[in-house]
């Protein structure tokens, strides 16, 4: 009996670890190859404080949480600033180093002999020794960890995590500080791993470095992936398979090292096979928010245009955004050369010019995706030069992308809700301390987002997964998402390119209505018909410089510009 209870306890411990890793791997798309090391550091923190400082159990748990949280959040910080591969590398190296330290820093860790006689916890005056006595404690902790994991993952906070997982640049473009969320989720993950660690140390009463190897880290990744990423039920299933499989193999009566090798082989082969045939895992992520959608309905007869946020509507044509002397070079190429432009409020301005003239670079410079070499950008009399993109969005300047960049594994509605600023549910404090307020705000935001979708005519698609939409529809969702940022200066990068004709007129109509509602709009567009149809003014760019400006019709009529745009006739 005790044997089976022990198996259950181990399953629960690994489920806790799995939840902690799933928040990173599944929800945020961040690979941690050092989870066994986090687990180990937590276990040593608990064991050492219990042995040397005589701290009782719940306090050692807190010590483990503190140490591991700081380690996970702090050490990964530099890698989180750069591309994903570096994170894999850094955590891999971290795993090796921490394991090496556990082995060889004998003064602290007692090396390979490990730390024994870790005191058992006492609860209500009774020491917990047997698996049966431990089970309630472990189960309670696991329940808390699952609740926290669910709250973090399946909430507005988790929606931001998924958004940055699906498309980091797009997450920045809707005003989310990606770095902040990455550090936060790493810290949370470390804290949850420490819960398993402290329980493990007190439960075994003995730890040594061999529980915290790189192989264990790999197996934890396998556990999460096999169970199903971004689904906590899947993680429980994964833990059952991971702990249960060796117990099954026990019946083979083979030598222990052979059993281990078979287990490793089966796990490795399963991982390969799942990646090939079922990358979503045993229990896949729930993509459609269909069930939750029922609580949101558009008020009957409401005018969708009324959904447009009314903040700072200025249709008077006064300059809203001013850029002066912007320059940017890539190697020898001047992508932007002493550029100056003004966007008048409530008007549509177009940037036209041949391919490679630097139009998209201008957008990148204005919104902070690229820092300019020289020049400044002033928005509403506030200098925003070189601010990170998520900050310029907060000040009211947002953009779309030529290649749309929706969050592909989220619903259409979630794509739009995610862009709404100032959500209490995206901050951990309100999420846990005032859940009712967060839930109420969430309800309102979903209704608002549905309003934006109705404005672009896609309310009936709200529950569908974004990647399932046609390209033209995706462009409309991107427009709804842009409006949802509540920015009043909107930069649209080729809003009508690659889209069927019937969609083009619809998109143009929407752009006009957005401008009429007081938004300041700037479009980059190749299609000159689109430009003349929608723009009040146009800048003509060539080779990183603005060479003409005026009404679109006048620019089109200029033979010199036509030659630059279409090439010389005799070529």
């Amino acid at each position: 009996m005790d044997f089976w209870l022990h198996v259950v306890n181990m399953i629960l411990l690994f489920a806790i670890l799995g939840v902690s890793l799933n928040l990173l791997l599944g929800y945020s798309g961040l690979v941690s190859m050092s989870h066994a090391a986090f687990f180990g550091v937590g276990a040593y923190a608990a064991a050492l404080t219990a042995r040397h400082l005589d701290w009782p159990f719940p306090v050692t748990l807190l010590a483990a949480i503190a140490v591991t949280t700081v380690l996970a959040g702090g050490v990964t910080f530099p890698a989180l600033r750069v591309r994903g591969e570096y994170l894999i590398l850094l955590t891999l190296a971290l795993q090796m180093v921490l394991y090496e330290l556990m082995l060889s820093w004998v003064d602290l860790t007692e090396g390979r002999t490990g730390i024994s006689a870790i005191p058992r916890p006492t609860l209500f005056g009774r020491a917990l020794v047997t698996p049966a006595q431990f089970l309630p404690l472990i189960a309670a902790c696991a329940a808390v960890v699952f609740a926290v994991g669910y709250r973090v993952g399946e909430s507005p906070f988790g929606r931001v995590l998924k958004a940055m997982r699906d498309d980091e640049r797009a997450a920045l473009a809707i005003g989310k500080s990606v770095l902040r969320y990455k550090v936060l989720v790493f810290s949370i993950s470390g804290a949850l791993a420490a819960v398993a660690a402290a329980l493990f140390a007190h439960y075994q009463a003995f730890i040594n470095p061999f529980s915290f190897t790189l192989d264990r880290s790999i197996f934890l990744v396998a556990l999460v992936v096999l169970g199903g990423t971004a689904n906590l039920v899947g993680t429980l299933v994964g833990a059952i398979v991971y702990v249960g499989l060796p117990e099954m193999l026990r019946f083979l009566q083979a030598r222990q090292d052979i059993v281990d090798a078979i287990r490793d082989f089966v796990f490795g082969a399963l991982l390969v096979a799942f990646m090939r045939f079922r990358p979503q895992g045993l229990v896949p992520e729930r993509l459609g928010g269909g069930a939750r959608l029922g609580t949101v309905a558009l008020p009957a007869g409401a005018d969708p245009a009324a959904a447009l946020p009314a903040r700072a509507a200025r249709a008077d044509g006064a300059p809203v955004l001013v850029a002066e002397g912007l320059s940017k070079s890539f190697g020898g190429i001047r992508a932007a050369d002493d550029l100056s432009l003004v966007l008048p409020g409530g008007k549509v301005t177009a940037l036209v010019g041949p391919n490679g003239a630097g139009k998209t670079t201008v957008f990148n410079l204005l919104t902070g995706f690229l820092p300019p070499d020289a020049g400044r950008v002033v928005l509403h009399d506030r200098e925003v030069t070189g601010l990170p993109p998520w900050r310029t969005v907060g000040y009211g300047l947002a953009r779309t992308f030529q290649d749309v960049r929706l969050f592909e594994r989220m619903t259409v509605l979630d794509n739009v809700v995610a862009a709404i600023p100032g959500q209490p549910g995206e901050r951990l404090g309100p999420l846990f301390l005032t859940p009712r307020r967060a839930a109420e705000a969430e309800r309102q935001n979903r209704a608002k987002a549905l309003g934006y979708l109705a404005f672009v005519g896609l309310a009936d698609k709200a529950g569908e997964v974004a990647s399932a939409l046609a390209f033209g529809e995706q462009k409309l969702v991107a427009l709804a998402r842009l409006i949802a940022t509540e920015a009043d200066v909107l930069l649209l990068d080729e809003p009508a390119s690659g889209v069927d004709v019937q969609w083009v007129s619809r998109i143009l109509e929407l752009i006009r209505r957005v401008a009429a509602a007081g938004k300041t709009v700037c479009i980059v567009e190749h299609n000159l018909e689109v430009v003349t149809a929608v723009a009040d003014r146009a800048y003509f760019m060539e080779a990183g410089r603005i060479i003409a400006e005026g009404r679109p019709e006048d620019l089109m009529a200029d033979p010199r510009l036509g030659e630059i745009y279409f090439g010389k006739a005799h070529r």
Binding site: G29, V31, V75, P78, A79, R81, V82, R83, G84, E85, Y86, I88, L89, L90, L92, A93, L94, M96, V97, E100, L101, S104, W105, V106, L214, D215, I218, F219, V221, A222, V225, D257, I258, D260, A261, I262, R263, D264, F265, F267, G268, A269, L270, L271, V272, M275, R276, P279, F330
Partner: protein, 243 residues
Amino acid sequence: MYAAVIAVSAWGVALPLGFAIAALVGCLVGVGTELALYRPLRRVEATQLNIFLASLGLLIAGQSVVLVVFGPQARTLEGFPMRGIELGPVAFTTIEALWLAAAWVLIAALMAWLWLTRHGLAIRAVASNPELAQCVGVERERVFLLVFAVGSALVGLGGTLIALRDTASPTMGVHPVLAAFIAVFLGGIGSIPGAAVGGVLLGLAENMGGLFLPGYWQGVIAFVVLFVVLVVRPSGVLGVRGR
């Protein structure tokens, strides 16, 4: 990949032949995994993360196969005359001299191959822009296969070289490969001289650090170097700066 090394030591063939076999087996295993695993994965449009996870699966499965077939104990590779060499104050062994020579010869050969031959041109074309390379008639899948063949053959050689001084064991692969990763990132991805410089820097830092720090901190040095590079110059020492 390191199975090749063990096979050589177990069969007791002559050493030069052993190197050839190691390279060949490494090459075959590399080509095999590319054909059986990575190519189908690309065909179903698996994400980078999924491909990485599949390679992890391959690592643990492969390790356990080697373990079952060859047993867990470490094996030595004999047959190379090991003597000490002293040049003034510097002392090293013949094996280390061989390492040095082999490393420089292989690096030079690899660079020449990448920059002077049609195959090298094709590889660089695919690396910088796969779609465009395809347009001008470079077969992407064939280039991948070629890269896997050459890369894995080199791994087989490297493994044999390491096994000459140390021993071959089922888990020997992880540590050198991690060091190689760090060296490549350190030098800058996509630059052979960069990888060489990164390797030299890493080796220097690890061993110089050992002079000043207690032994158990030595393992931390590679990590600290990586950490500093990530903070100061994320594109690597000789890397091409990204846009």
